[in-house]
Symmetry: C2
């Protein structure tokens, strides 16, 4: 018997944004692993075991889930948003590196609505032209690499989506990112702060870069910085399709 | 009576990847607009009028949909994938530019699973670290800008997702993109060709950059090029979360 592990994306928060294939995978699982707040979004039912763990324990969680799948159980690991974007899928593949036995398991990734898509949809269409996504959390990479990427994104005139702009343990990274942006972008460029999209706490506001402050973001905020062509029309923000 | 226009993402192809909020919007619409092949994915029912149009007519389609919404009807415009990523949402906001009356309509964007998320999920987790998305179609921008962005993405060591790599009318752009990549990236870097993900025609293959050829992509292919850290484990391709 070959065990199965499904890495499933719950989307940003609203049940109406969870895909049917993800709902089906959750309904079929014997055991579901995930960070505590995401696990609470899984409907409870008899026969389902929930394994909640802490935020910083992705690799240990992946190994525990793989070990149980190897026993022949039907396992799901859940992430908020898309599991392949700054989330659990990479931790599972990292856990496979030294375990050829686990590589033989039936492992699949089910995509989800990642935060930048939900945030962009609320604002208008800021990601309608070439863009990049940068994780501002510096607990897995040096800030120098983040700075290099922001400068490259400015050089390429990409729209930028920033994940994890700010956390209690490293509050200064986003302020440094804003300082780099101000060196290379005009002060009127739109900056979208999209907090907790799809939840009752949702709040989306757009300000010019000159007025963007680090304390406008917290750990539930996704930030989108426009390119040189991103503009407002009425209450919306979008990036035109064409550059002439 | 205020008309409503919903711009909805159908995901890459599989019905199981359409979100419930998009399905509900399609069920509530009086009229649905879209490119012919996407319109065929909408379930027919009595009272629903389908307005199929050609691929190159986004702005005319947006204006026709807005005009009908202004009459008080319940309109949906559908895109494949996510409507905000190289798709219909920007055309709608462009159509609003000189029409303050249309700006007062109830307009909303419903996100969908965009092609790069579905492709990445099939391959493993190549987008698990900072990445960018570039539309290689040069009918709305000069190739010089595409080249500048690929060079910037190499300078920033981003994973890259290429939309619309190749079409019958402009087959040479992707070959030029591959040539730029070969100047700036090592020959073993993984390149994923994901064709028609979520449909019966799905085919996903990964080759080293040195073996990537332009004719491996067609207009239904999404291409992902790894960063310097993207690697293979077993049959999967992923980009580790950490850079030390």
């Amino acid at each position: 018997m070959i065990g199965r592990l499904t890495i499933a994306g719950l989307g940003p928060g609203a049940a109406a944004q969870v895909t049917p294939e993800v709902s089906a995978a959750l309904a079929a699982a014997s055991d579901i692993f995930g960070y505590g707040p995401y696990i609470t979004r899984v409907p409870a039912r008899p026969g389902l075991t929930l394994h909640a763990s802490d935020n910083r324990e992705e690799l240990a969680r992946a190994r525990a889930a793989l070990a149980l799948a190897a026993e022949g159980r039907e396992i799901a690991i859940v992430s908020s948003g898309d599991p392949g974007v700054f989330a659990m899928a990479a931790a599972v593949f990292e856990a496979l590196e030294d375990r050829p036995d686990w590589q033989a398991l039936d492992i699949r990734v089910l995509p989800g609505i990642t935060a930048m898509l939900a945030a962009a949809a609320r604002a208008g269409a800021p990601l309608a032209h070439d863009f990049c996504a940068i994780n501002l959390s510096d607990n897995l990479k040096p800030f120098a690499l983040i700075a290099r990427r922001i400068r490259a994104a400015l050089a390429g005139d990409f729209v930028m989506a920033f994940y994890n702009p700010r956390s209690l343990s490293r509050p200064e990274g986003f302020a440094r990112a804003l300082a780099i942006l101000r060196e290379g972008a005009e002060p009127g460029r739109p900056v979208i702060f999209a907090r907790a999209v799809g939840t009752p706490d949702e709040r989306v506001e757009t300000v010019p870069l000159a007025e963007a402050r680090a304390d406008m973001a917290d750990m539930r905020t996704l930030v989108i910085v426009g390119s040189s062509t991103t503009r407002r029309v009425g209450r919306f923000v979008y990036t035109p399709r064409a550059v002439r």
